[in-house]
Amino acid sequence: MRVGICGGGPAGLYLAILLRRAGHEVALRERNPPGVTYGWGVVFSDESLAELRDADYETYLQIDAALVRWSSIDIHYAGERIRSTGHGFAAIARTTLLRLLAERAVALGADMAFSTEVPDDDPWAPFAGCDLVVAADGVRSALRAAQAAAFGSRFSPTASKYVWFGADMALPVFTFIFTPTAHGLFQVHAYPYDAHRSTFIVETSEAAWRSAGLDAMSEGDSLAFCQDLFAPYLGDHRLLSNESVWRTFVTVRNRSWHCQVGGQDVVLVGDAAHTAHFSIGSGTRLALDDAIALAKAFVASPGDRSAALAAYEGDRQPIVERFQEVATDSARYFESVGRYLGFAPEPFAFNLLTRSGRISHGNLTARDPVLVNRVDRRFVGAAAPRLVVPPPLLTPLRLAAGCELANRVVMAGPILEAAEDGRPGEAHASALEGVAATGAALVVTEEVAPVAGGRVTSGSPGLWNDDHTEGWAKVAARVHEAGARLALRLTHAGRRGSTQPRGRGLDRPLPAGGWRLVAPSPVPYTARSLRPEAMDAAAREAVRAAYGDAAARAADAGVDVLLLDMADGYLLASFLSPLTNPGDDRRDSYPLEVLAAVREAWPAGRPLAVRLVADDRFPGGLTAADGVILARRLAAGGAGLIDVAAGHTVPDAAADYRRLFNAGLADRIRNEAGVPVVVGGHITRLDEVNTVLAAGRADLCRLDPRTYLRGTPPSPG
């Protein structure tokens, strides 16, 4: 096979080596002269080195001899240096890597031409006669651009600004520096790559970048600004510039990684195929792994190029997508790291190290038990010399003077829809007792209606007369006997009421025997739902009073936590959202009035929580920024805990339903509104609970027995 490779970066050069080894003809064209490169060092992990060792031992030995290795990460934050150990990484100067690869490729007989520009009008011309053209021409690939539609290229910029500098010093280990300024926070990602040099990346928000005037500064002035800002860490050493200009990171994705152009197969590798935010340091690793996978595919399918290209894409695409997800989470962390500046150093460091989901409480314990012990000790509030501390999930939480939870796990009972006229019976007691027996500290009921007209289905339980109080008292006693606390979810279904049991679908109106629905506006939930009546002042007042009465009954029944439902498209959520309550400029006033009525009826020493729709996940609806404002107002109104929910205000507002899909939202509500939060959203492992808690993303985690310990474990590093 005759292969033309466009681009002499790591992916192109390494592919040239591997294909020459397999006996293919290789012609590589690079626009720069040999030895010219931008950027400083590149990072390898232990796993990526193992791949190189297997693919070409000679290259591996050369690279290995030139590597700088470290196993720690220093985090400079709030005047402290936290060091985390056990992270095996290595780096090499990019110029050295390219030189070693180019020498090896030449020795193997690759036809290499440097200083060769690909013509804009016909980028394929240099590769005429090749069976396969490899686009290894980087993030701004000309070959990819020439076939953008066939590849389905997409580009997502991140919000931050960053610049790559070098530094004329070898930092001892990988180093993060967080430096608040009058303009905003600046952070550094830096690591040594030979005995005298380090890569030194500076990143900040666009707002801080503009405020500091960096948008208008010359390359030299911006270097001086950063030199000055990080002088305490640089000492007598200098930052170095090499076309070091401020950039916006762009994530590149391609639906297809190969196509045909006039009888030639074209395939993407490296940055031309994909990029992943620099904060996970995987760009070079992914590029080299692409080359390995592509070369391997031609070994596995000799003589069948289309099968080989399909196998290459099928092998690499899912892995790269996973890296891109991880990198996106990491990038998002750095975009919003300003919200964690109130954290103590230990949780700050833990949150940083676990930002992308690749490191959890469990595997950080394996790498660095000393740091995790410090983190856990800080979480419990225990000072040295105490060493024996529970993990975060087993750390009690005092919700109010008279209510302490034994651990951080919340579990909802099953939806039974088995109440008669709202009265809970033995089915409820035994189901919730069963949930309590799992060991969860707080057990939550299904929706409990404050008025008969607020039920979801005719089997929904309620709390609108004293008869119900007795039923809930029995439930509470059984839950207490089983060692848990009981939270009662007080829900007026609003326009989602009067439906059939949910066994065969949601929001299916009762064909007969239903009741009139109320809502802030007369718009049905789905096209098949009953039309609600808009509530007038008298109706609102009656429902508000009923909420208060229900809260008083819940208190009498011995319920420990009252969870006032303002989520899931039910009545109070539909007051909050502009999608369902248009034209009202104080949409939160009625929900706050209801909260006040409940607050007044509910004993002062017992916790009052609100389940809040903090994001409608729908155009024109509530956003996370609205959620932060609402959470603050609810906290001021007496809610001591926010159960963070999203979606379902309108029926077709979907999430992505990935692992921990509500954790980012909960984190934002907790750390921007300053309120304790419960987070749910597909948490299936106790290790995830420990991670979320220790990182300060939530205070309690909601698990569900139907997903707990099920499904695939979090993947790869």
Partner: protein, 282 residues
Amino acid sequence: MRIGVGLPTSTPPSGPRHRGPELLTWATRAEAGPFASLGVTDRLVYDCTDPMVALAAAAAVTTRLRLVTMVVIGPIRPAAVLAAQAASLDALSGGRVTLGVSLGARHDDYDAAGADWRSRGRYLSDELAAMRDIWEGTSVGPRPASPGGPDLLVGGGSGPAFLRAARHADGYVHGGGPPRAFASAAERARAAWVDAGRPGEPQLWGQSYFSLADPDAGADYLRHYYAFTGPFAERVAAGLLDSPKAVREQVAGYAEGGCDELVLLPATSDPSELDRLADALA
């Protein structure tokens, strides 16, 4: 995990022109094999035997197998028509129908049916709700044999598809791929189910193509059938289960991923493939 097998409704017929009798032979032999169901796919602008008609024919020569659509494209059929067809099939077969429904991925099927492509998501959500209402009611179509009508599955791989399954169906049907892809989709289907506040758990169904005697012919068929996906057709062909070992590994992988029923779809029409598949599963 149960194992089902597909009917060869869109593979090239092994007979001279049309695939009539061999579908019946295939169904009869499947009934005698270690299979729990017969599955059919749906495509309008292609040489594909209509899924509901094929299953009706299969119903006449079987008594045990479940009859499953993997999937029918919902929005190219009016809800009342699809509901009445499914209820009829369910009544004819003694309550053996599981109806998998999704959006499909091809514009041409919508154009040929005169259906609107842009509103297809909203249409499908309402169609699912409408069919259940029709089956429980008395005004449209025959009374299905299954109480409340056939089980409904929803296919697709996006957030809206998982939400649709959670809101309106009895489970989720995956579109095919390696076990890891199934497991990841199944997990999201379960997560959406819990998030939507739906009681119970979703049924989780998977599908894979197999061709044991003539894998090259099977791969050619898949390249042709999936040509509309561009280079992805090669990926589908590469996933073909072409040996007993590949079948067994796929079965083990899907079982581990929590699949309730894996339907193995034929990529060639030769009924002796059923024996080979049964041997591979034994």
